[in-house]
Symmetry: C2
Subunit: 122 residues, 2 copies
């Protein structure tokens, strides 16, 4: 198991537990968080912890899948906020601590016409 994978597992466990001290310990001081969909960036551990601490809603998460190699980890996490369900796909880099986080929040959409001869809905 890679070092960074263990750090990322602690990151998600601390987020779910709202243990912001343990959460901060997984992050490099100059960590950068990037959301390509909104083109937002949050620079620095303090701001990023605050962003998570202030995030509204009674959200809960579980990790569906983790793929790790030395220095890079990706997670697919399932979030619930009440009855609402969401996924986050998160790319982490770092060595022992996390130095960059790039996150995607894909939303449900209706399939385009013209492919129901190949696909099934589930």
């Amino acid at each position: 198991m890679t070092e960074l994978r263990k750090t990322v597992e602690r990151f998600w466990a601390a987020a779910e537990a709202r243990d912001w001290t343990a959460f901060a310990e997984t992050l490099a001081e100059d960590v950068v968080y990037t959301l390509p969909q909104t083109r937002e960036r949050i620079a620095g551990r303090e701001r990023y912890v605050q962003f998570n601490r202030e995030y509204p809603g009674d959200w809960h998460l579980r990790t569906e899948r983790i793929v790790a190699e030395p220095g890079q980890v990706v997670t697919w996490a399932h979030f619930t906020v009440g009855l609402e369900e969401m996924y986050a796909i998160t790319f982490f880099t770092g060595t022992e601590k996390i130095t960059s986080i790039t996150e995607f929040w894909p939303e449900p959409y209706e399939p385009p016409a013209g492919r129901d001869h190949l696909s099934e809905r589930y």
Copy 2:
């Protein structure tokens, strides 16, 4: 480098080249393609190759990031269709050939209010 990573690199290169024979060779016969956002599933190599071959638009791709461990690979691919830009995040499993593909297409959205004291737009 893992075996599956090499297969996934061939998969994307063949897609970009519209080389559907080489593309099919990367896939197990019973490959399953899943789109959680639309809850669509396409079962079997033949249908999945047809789905890609029929996909409309002059799309082009490059892989931004690959994370691989034995049996699991994730890619973040950047697509262009004319002036439109999109990302696909794709989770692959398999050994030598690809047996499952789960893909997300995150779309741009406006950031919620109340976090611009922490974030910057880029």
